[in-house]
């Protein structure tokens, strides 16, 4: 029977957090799923996030499909994983992510699928679909989400890392 099991969770406290990181990820699962509800204190409507594996920001590539409601964009931006509302977005509004990482403990390069939304009822918001690749053969033992503009995740941001087993 397949299983969907919580590995670890992070809830950002009142001081905020520069990043959200999961370490010592066991290799006993088949796939990883990371669910994020996040908001940033950047002085803007939106903050953009990148992903690191095993404390490395290198060897990432991706293709993104991004829409604002008026324009559709597609391109490549290494490590980019999606966007969240920031300080000038509608209050109490947090972006949602689902990041799927299949075969994270295998010996091939690691693919990443990410769906995210920073919708906040203002004119500027993004919806992203991202197909990413980490061109490394090492098993993923840590995952870190970082803000691209050195802002902090604000209080009540949460992240849950699940392992999916096919056994």
């Amino acid at each position: 029977m397949a299983t969907y099991t919580l590995i670890s969770s992070v809830t950002v406290g009142s001081g905020g957090a520069a990043n959200i990181e999961f370490t010592s990820i066991p290799s006993t699962y088949t796939d990883l799923v990371l669910k994020l509800s996040g908001r940033s204190n950047r002085s803007a409507t939106t903050e953009f996030l990148s992903i690191n594996f095993n404390s490395s920001a290198s060897n990432f590539s991706n293709i993104y499909l991004e829409a604002t409601g008026t324009t559709v964009y597609s391109g490549s931006f290494a490590g980019y994983i999606g966007s969240i509302p920031a300080a000038t977005a509608t209050a109490n509004t947090f972006g949602s992510f689902e990041i799927y990482i299949p075969n994270y403990a295998g010996s091939n390069s690691k693919s990443i699928s990410s769906d995210s939304v920073s919708e906040n009822n203002l004119n500027l918001a993004y919806s992203d679909l991202i197909a990413g690749l980490w061109s490394q053969t090492a098993a993923i033992t840590s995952v870190k989400l970082v803000t691209n503009n050195a802002s902090n995740f604000v209080q009540y941001s949460t992240a849950y890392l699940y392992g999916i087993s096919n056994a």
């Binding site: 908001r39 829409a67 559709v72 509004t93 769906d115 939304v117």
Partner: protein, 168 residues
Amino acid sequence: MSVTYDKIQTTTLGSAQASVTFSAISGSYTDLVLISNVDITSAGASINIRFNSDTGNNYSYITIYGNGIAHATNKATNQNKSYIAAYVAPNTSLETVIVTNIQNYSNTTTNKTLISRSNRASASNSPGAEVLSGLWRNTSAITSITLAADSGNIDTGSTFTLYGIKAE
């Protein structure tokens, strides 16, 4: 660590009806996942969603749609409903599949967002793929979900299953 992906409720329509409601949703999960397999009785319409029976102008959304040739995006603010799919075809033999993630649904701190992926399964009615990102500007815990077609009824045989993902 424990297994955390639980079926909360499933519904298969025995007759066409205007709406489907999941009520008394427990707050004991972290996230909700709704799997819908739908067709409708009208000539093609959107499937809308409301939380906690709220009909105020507290919803907004962005859509992305592509059909292999072209793409499009749309956005609406201050709406009285959001959506899980912008187009569902009237085809009982080729239903539209919709996967909707509603995260942090039970907290009382944040507004609630959803991400919904759907196909447009009909070969004759604008086939393609779509993502719909919605927002409900309300910090209440979600305790009920109501789905309805913008026109016509949800057809016989449509299925809806609500799962809870528990973080414990």
